[in-house]
């Protein structure tokens, strides 16, 4: 199972990102799981400056914005195709 890392806090943007990510995973039955990291010390390790930041395999997909479900779908499917 692939881990999608979401660096976030308790703000509206971060919460929306988490919901949208989970919705897309459910909708397409993707073998992925969202791991939300709220610990600042962890963020420091990855050099995160902006919340929310979405990352897979150490690659940043979104930062500072709450991506819509459509955008997440597009990015994730692109990512999966490239990996195959």
């Amino acid at each position: 199972m692939k881990r999608i890392i979401l660096f976030g806090a308790n703000c509206a943007k971060c919460k929306k990102t988490e919901i949208n990510l989970n919705n897309v995973i459910q909708k397409h039955n993707l073998n992925m799981i969202v791991e939300k990291i709220q610990d600042v010390q962890e963020m420091v390790k990855y050099n995160i400056l902006y919340l929310p930041t979405v990352m897979i395999d150490n690659v940043i997909l979104f930062k500072g914005i709450a991506p819509s479900e459509k955008e997440i779908e597009k990015t994730l499917t692109n990512k999966l195709e490239n990996n195959l």
């Binding site: 660096f7 976030g8 806090a9 308790n10 703000c11 943007k13 971060c14 600042v40 010390q41 963020m43 420091v44 050099n47 995160i48 400056l49 902006y50 919340l51 500072g64 914005i65 709450a66």
Partner: protein
């Protein structure tokens, strides 16, 4: 510049709705229609402009530039200036703060960025332009940048690094290598869709506040007699500015809803400088941001930070009232 918008508002209210020119309801509605059109156009223009600048100078690039070279004081200006075009969400203040100080950027410069980013943002600039015109907007932006530089400089000179929380101090000592930020090369055309999307998100987010703010402003415009507040607050009243600022600091709000009301207050007799200082206090500092920053600084440092910025805003309020 917005005569055509006034014409639309006049036509809509007086011709289509047959309200009488000069009547209270007519005036209030006319104000609402005109201001709404004007503000949304300005908002679109300014969020796009700031978005484009930000796209070429993202925060990582600014941080790298500040880290790599000695700027001999110019770094305060850089941080304050680019803070204005960087969209700010208070939840990012902690990672931003850490990211800066950990990279070896002086604490004062980091503070300058942290102050200017919420103080001069696209929404506030657009609201000022819409409500008070170009001259006042330029004064607000320039003084916002200068205020951030001065407050950052004072905080830097106070040598309060030891008041950071322990783990942050530890982190600074480790001095991790600079980030490996590689900027994607994008053409102007490729940047535009992202900038437009972000601008739309900002506008969508503040639209309800603007509508409510302008509606309340419209009502007050129509129904409160001109000069009404002069009885209570005048430029000569020495407590006007500090009271306005101290009320504004704990408030957590954007300027979208507040400034349309402020414009009417100015029209009805409250000094403009006092209103500008109040707006700065509202957007510049807030309790939620303070609570978040508690993760990286001790209560004492937080108190010093808030006090220095508050005093700077109060002083600028007095200056505005002298100049304007």
């Amino acid at each position: 510049m917005f005569d055509w918008a006034q014409n639309i508002a006049d036509w809509f209210i007086y011709e289509v709705f047959h309200l009488t020119r000069g009547s209270k309801a007519g005036d209030a509605l006319n104000f609402f229609v005109f201001d709404t059109i004007k503000i949304f156009i300005l908002l679109l223009f300014i969020t796009l402009l700031m978005g484009i600048i930000n796209s070429y100078f993202p925060i990582e690039k600014i941080r790298n530039a500040l880290q790599k070279r000695k700027w001999y004081g110019l770094d305060y200006f850089m941080a304050s200036f680019f803070g204005t075009v960087t969209p700010f969400c208070s939840c990012s203040s902690v990672p931003l703060f850490i990211g800066f100080v950990q990279g070896g950027i002086p604490l004062g410069v980091t503070f300058a960025f942290l102050i200017s980013s919420p103080l001069v943002d696209a929404v506030t600039v657009a609201m000022f332009a819409g409500m008070f015109g170009l001259r006042i907007t330029v004064i607000y932006v320039v003084s916002g940048i200068i205020l951030s530089m001065i407050a950052g400089f004072i905080l830097g000179k106070m040598k309060i690094d030891h008041l950071l929380t322990e783990w942050v101090q530890h982190l600074i000592k480790q001095k991790q290598s600079a980030s490996q930020f590689v900027e994607e090369k994008k053409t102007f055309k490729q940047r535009i869709p992202e900038v437009v999307k972000e601008a739309m998100n900002i506008i969508k987010g503040v639209a309800p506040y603007i509508l409510i703010g302008v509606a309340i402003g419209g009502l007050m415009h129509g129904f409160i007699p001109t000069g009404f507040f002069e009885k209570y607050i005048t430029k000569e009243n020495p407590f006007g500015v500090p009271v306005a600022v101290l009320v504004g600091v704990p408030m957590y709000s954007n300027t979208a809803g507040i400034l349309p009301i402020m414009q009417v207050l100015v029209e009805k007799g409250i000094p403009l400088g006092t209103v500008i200082a109040f707006s700065m206090a509202v957007v510049g500092l807030s309790i939620p941001e303070g609570l978040l920053l508690k993760k990286v600084m001790t209560g004492k440092m937080l108190a010093i930070f808030f006090t220095v910025v508050t005093i700077c805003i109060i002083i600028s309020g007095y200056l505005f009232n002298i100049v304007l």
